[in-house]
């Protein structure tokens, strides 16, 4: 029997990305908590954050398919950003956040 324990789903520690943005999961950005004093934040378990991110890609795929049969792209990488690098050891990754839900 699977038991959901919120405590097992605590998000990884945040690392700073810019002066005003932090990151707990790769490519999932959050406003620096220091700037959220006037706006309450909802605590999300790790699996829920990742579920929302996955749903986001589903939504975008659906929107492409809704408007045309096929998506044509230039087939080129970004000219403004360096190619993706593996996260540094100290950076938490989605994989290290654990499965969902926890048994």
């Amino acid at each position: 029997m699977a038991i959901f324990r919120l405590g097992d789903q605590a998000p990884p520690p945040a690392r700073r990305v810019t002066d005003t943005v932090v990151m707990r999961f790769d490519h999932v950005y959050e406003v620096d908590p220091a700037l959220m004093e006037l706006t309450g934040q909802q605590e999300l378990p790790a699996w829920d954050t990742l579920r929302i991110v996955d749903s986001r890609w589903d939504h975008l795929d659906w929107m492409h398919a809704h408007f045309a049969d096929d998506v044509l792209l230039a087939g080129e990488e970004s000219e403004t950003l360096p190619a993706d690098k593996p996260p540094a050891d100290e950076m938490p990754s989605e994989e290290r956040a654990g499965p969902r839900p926890v048994e």
Partner: protein, 507 residues
């Protein structure tokens, strides 16, 4: 002093008459929650005076005959009538400024006919474009009206507001996509409006071109109860590409290069300015990691057959790199284009003057402007917003964009918007009047540069609505004659676009 425009009192006798017309008490809604839910639209709203904008009763008709009888009743008793579709507009066209009967068309959402021979679809005004296209996809056709509110706005509202489409450069905007329609006039008659006498004709030279008159009147000339719409072949492919620039003027020049390219499949080109990029850099996953030298962005989208779009895409990639443009990559290009409707689905937050994140509503002050004046307007608009931001502390500048606006002719006209966050929970009368003054100043700049105060949302916002007579100039008298002839008692959405002045004593 007005003699006819009024704040209505809908009493029990009127409710009884409405129930007799509709024949279904569940579709006559004088209860508070039904009225509160139909009060505002997703534009900044004087939340401290919510009750001032509530209708007295909402009804949900199912037929043109029901709408006609309700309008006849309203005209007889001089009660305001306010048509409402999705309630997604950005300038209060569906907001009851004088109380009265709100006619909510959401139950008139049927597809009456799909004609694959003469390429039209006939629908009720309450259908949503996304749901319509899900049905049309089975037939290999497409209704290409694509506002930012695409997942939630309705055809009737698009017609009433003269909606603007994100794909307008390729397929035209709402006014170009309505072939004909059935309209209930302010005096209750049901009329067929098209090209001449045709229901499925795209061009006639008989009599007057009435169709455009009944597209974009903000619910002040009648209520559309059925519409016959254009069908286009479903696109084989979509192509999107985003390019970054180190300064606004480089992006501006590239915008001109792209829009004058002559590529027929070009559906939209949009330029984001430095303020917009700075705003996106706060919270948007595509822009947070971008280097500081990304200061302006151009996005291009094309739709059509693969045979057309594929070679055209090579030209776009070449033109986009003019003036130092750098491609943002496939992932951002595809993802950001598919995100173009997000603003209607996500909560918004801005920053106060101390940088703290606060929940804000989103307002986009739009204008129709020519290419030549975009840089000057940008400077003046931002200066205005900065001044009000400093003074009131509840506004936030979320940047500007310029989007191709000429249907099939994308080279000279632009929908230009400055997006402004408003901290609604801090609104009071002083702050609200500050906001109204800010909007008026923005609209005055548009007029100064030969533009129109709105390309998209409608001139029904408090503040800039007062400038409608000035913008219309010598044509204002023509507007007066048309409005008063069709709506002699000013019952159809009174209080909008300064039309009330036509009914003042001595007018």
């Amino acid at each position: 002093m007005t003699t006819i425009a009024f704040k209505s009192g809908v009493d029990d006798a009127v409710i009884d008459e409405l129930r007799a017309i509709i024949g279904d008490d569940d579709r006559v809604l004088p209860n508070t929650s039904s009225r509160v839910n139909r009060t505002r639209v997703p534009a900044p709203f004087p939340v401290h005076r919510w009750a001032d904008y509530m209708p007295d009763v909402a009804i949900l008709p199912k037929t043109a005959e029901e709408v006609s009888e309700v309008v006849k009743l309203a005209n007889r008793l001089r009660i305001p009538v306010v048509p409402r579709a999705g309630g997604t507009g950005l300038s209060d066209g569906a907001v009851a400024r004088r109380g009265g009967i709100q006619i909510d068309c959401k139950l008139m959402n049927q597809i009456h006919e799909i004609d694959l021979v003469d390429r039209t679809v006939t629908v009720g005004p309450g259908i949503n474009m996304l749901k319509l296209n899900e049905e049309l996809r089975k037939h290999g056709v497409f209704y290409p009206d694509d506002p930012a509110s695409y997942p939630c706005s309705l055809v009737g509202g698009r017609i009433g507001t003269g909606g603007w489409s994100l794909l307008g450069a390729r397929f035209g905007h709402t006014r170009d996509l309505v072939v004909s329609m059935q309209v209930v006039l302010p005096t209750g008659e049901i009329v067929e409006i098209g090209e001449g006498g045709g229901r499925k004709l795209r061009k006639s030279s008989t009599a007057l071109n009435l169709k455009q008159l009944f597209t974009g009147h903000q619910g002040t000339l009648g209520i559309t109860t059925e519409a016959t719409l254009e069908l286009v072949p479903r696109p084989e492919v979509e192509f999107a590409a985003f390019f970054a620039y180190e300064d606004y003027m480089s992006a501006y020049r590239t915008l001109g290069d792209l829009t004058k390219s002559g590529l027929a499949t070009l559906a939209g080109v949009v330029l984001f300015d430095e303020w917009k990029i700075a705003y996106l850099r706060r919270d948007d996953e595509a822009y947070i990691p971008q280097p500081d030298n990304v200061r302006a962005v151009i996005a291009v989208a094309m739709y059509g057959t693969r045979a057309e779009v594929e070679p055209a895409s090579k030209i776009v990639m070449k033109l986009g790199r003019h003036n130092g443009g750098r491609y943002l990559g496939d992932e951002i290009s595809a993802g950001d284009w598919a995100s173009r409707h997000d603003r209607y689905a996500t909560p918004l937050h801005g920053r106060d003057k101390n940088g703290q994140a606060v929940m804000m509503s989103w307002h986009c002050e739009d204008a129709a402007l020519n290419y030549s004046v975009l840089p000057k307007v940008r400077e003046e608009w931002h200066a205005i917003v900065e001044r009000y931001r400093e003074q009131y502390g509840i506004f936030d500048d979320w940047g500007m964009f310029a989007y191709t606006s000429g249907p099939h002719k994308p080279w000279a006209d632009y929908l230009v918007e400055i997006d402004i966050g408003i901290w609604e929970s801090r609104l009071n009368e002083e702050n609200w009047q500050g906001w109204v003054n800010c909007k008026r100043e923005i609209a005055e700049v548009s007029l100064k540069y030969g533009g129109s105060i709105t390309a998209c949302h409608g001139a029904t916002r408090e503040g800039d609505a007062h400038l409608v007579p000035q913008e219309m100039g010598s044509a204002w008298e023509v507007v007066r004659r048309i409005k008063t002839a069709l709506d002699p008692n000013n019952i159809m959405n009174p209080g909008q676009q300064s039309f009330d002045e036509f009914y003042e004593e001595g007018a």
